[in-house]
Symmetry: C2
Subunit: 203 residues, 2 copies
DNA sequence: ACCCTCACATACCATCGGTACGTGAAAGGG
DNA sequence: CCCTTTCACGTACCGATGGTATGTGAGGGT
């Protein structure tokens, strides 16, 4: 019926979809390959024909998750005309998207541990983190925040939002307070640029 | 020679010390129990007499690491008289302490994945994160930053510093720029309090 | 001197991630 | 239309892993 290429892709997608479900609910280490192939209706031979290892399968899942988050963030942010609004709205959108426990487990908890921080960082950079760095560069260019290297600021903000999202998953009642605190932090960033001198900090 | 209690504790400490070394360099998943017991000069029976599982052994290691970081941060911060200096100095001290790759691997990478985020968070709260929350509460009490819930702010800052430390491990040349960016973020926090109204955020 | 406790060692197990090889249907050439 | 090659899997199997059940021998109280 289906051509070989079609069948191949469908099997691969099934594998990714089912393993994503399992990784998200039980965590990477708690999911066995036998469980995955059973859910996908194939055998281990099929899995290892598509992926070199369990970790690489997880990598494919992670890439999918990050792509979705990045798309959501980008779509929400790009709807704003003002650069500053694009920035703050994008940050809040990321916070919202990352509050989903299934997304968290894969993207923030197991991601760095399974693939190593370097590889995880590279993938994050290709996802939503890129939008953050871009937005910061725009803000500097527009003179809305002080001229400075974007990388340190991007990492600080990225880490802040990641951790905040993880925390909110266990205490969702603090969502509004966290959004406000984040908004304040971002706002303070803008206010600092108006302080004329880019205050050089000792050490 | 040694009393039973002494022998017991010594074995336990050896187990923690050797496994910490291995976990730090190779990562939790890449270290086998056989490797650990060989390095410690005991057998698996001894390990499972002291710890219920590999994860619990890792938990003991993590507790030790976090205690050391917390002590360093507290010692550095408490040397400052001014509350604001205590805050900023403590943050910078945490950043410095967390830049060590061995500490990172255990405390920031494997920690959440092995023990789960909730348990990891609880341990972090008992460590350096507690000092952060305390310092923030002091600043609010002293009127140096706007009155607000401390928890959201603490998580945002904690996450920012964690991620920054991880990043610095791979690009240490950006240490000064990151310290400056962090100092700016903290400073902006103080500046925001002078804005009279504790701006209520919509949403 | 007795015996119980307990800090380990030994032997063993199920399951895991991973691999070598077999198989049968689709694609390509004559 | 047939023959051959390719390739997307399935099957059978492996070593190593985390974990357990049981043995053992030196404290240590009475």
């Amino acid at each position: 019926m289906a051509s070989r290429a079609e069948q191949r892709e469908q099997t691969r997608r099934t594998l990714v979809r089912e393993s994503r479900q399992l990784f998200a609910t039980k965590g990477y280490a708690a999911v066995g390959l036998s469980e995955i192939v059973r859910a996908a209706g194939v055998t281990k031979g099929a899995l290892y024909h598509h992926f070199e290892s369990k970790a690489e399968l997880f990598g494919a899942v992670l890439a999918e998750v990050q792509q979705e988050v990045a798309d959501t963030v980008a779509a929400t942010a790009d709807a704003q005309d003002d650069p500053w609004d694009r920035f703050t709205t994008g940050c809040q959108a990321f916070l919202t998207a990352s509050t989903d426990p299934a997304t968290q487990r894969i993207m923030l908890i197991d991601g760095p541990a399974v693939l190593g921080w370097n590889e995880w960082r590279a993938m994050d950079e290709a996802g939503s983190a890129r939008h953050l760095a871009d937005a910061l560069a725009d803000l500097i260019e527009a003179g809305l925040i002080a001229r400075q290297p974007v990388a340190p600021l991007a990492h600080l903000l990225s880490g802040a939002m990641n951790e905040a999202a993880l925390w909110l998953a266990t205490s969702p009642g603090d969502l509004d307070a966290t959004r406000a605190a984040l908004a304040q932090m971002l706002d303070a960033l803008r206010a600092a640029s108006e302080g004329a001198h880019p205050l050089t900090q000792r050490s």
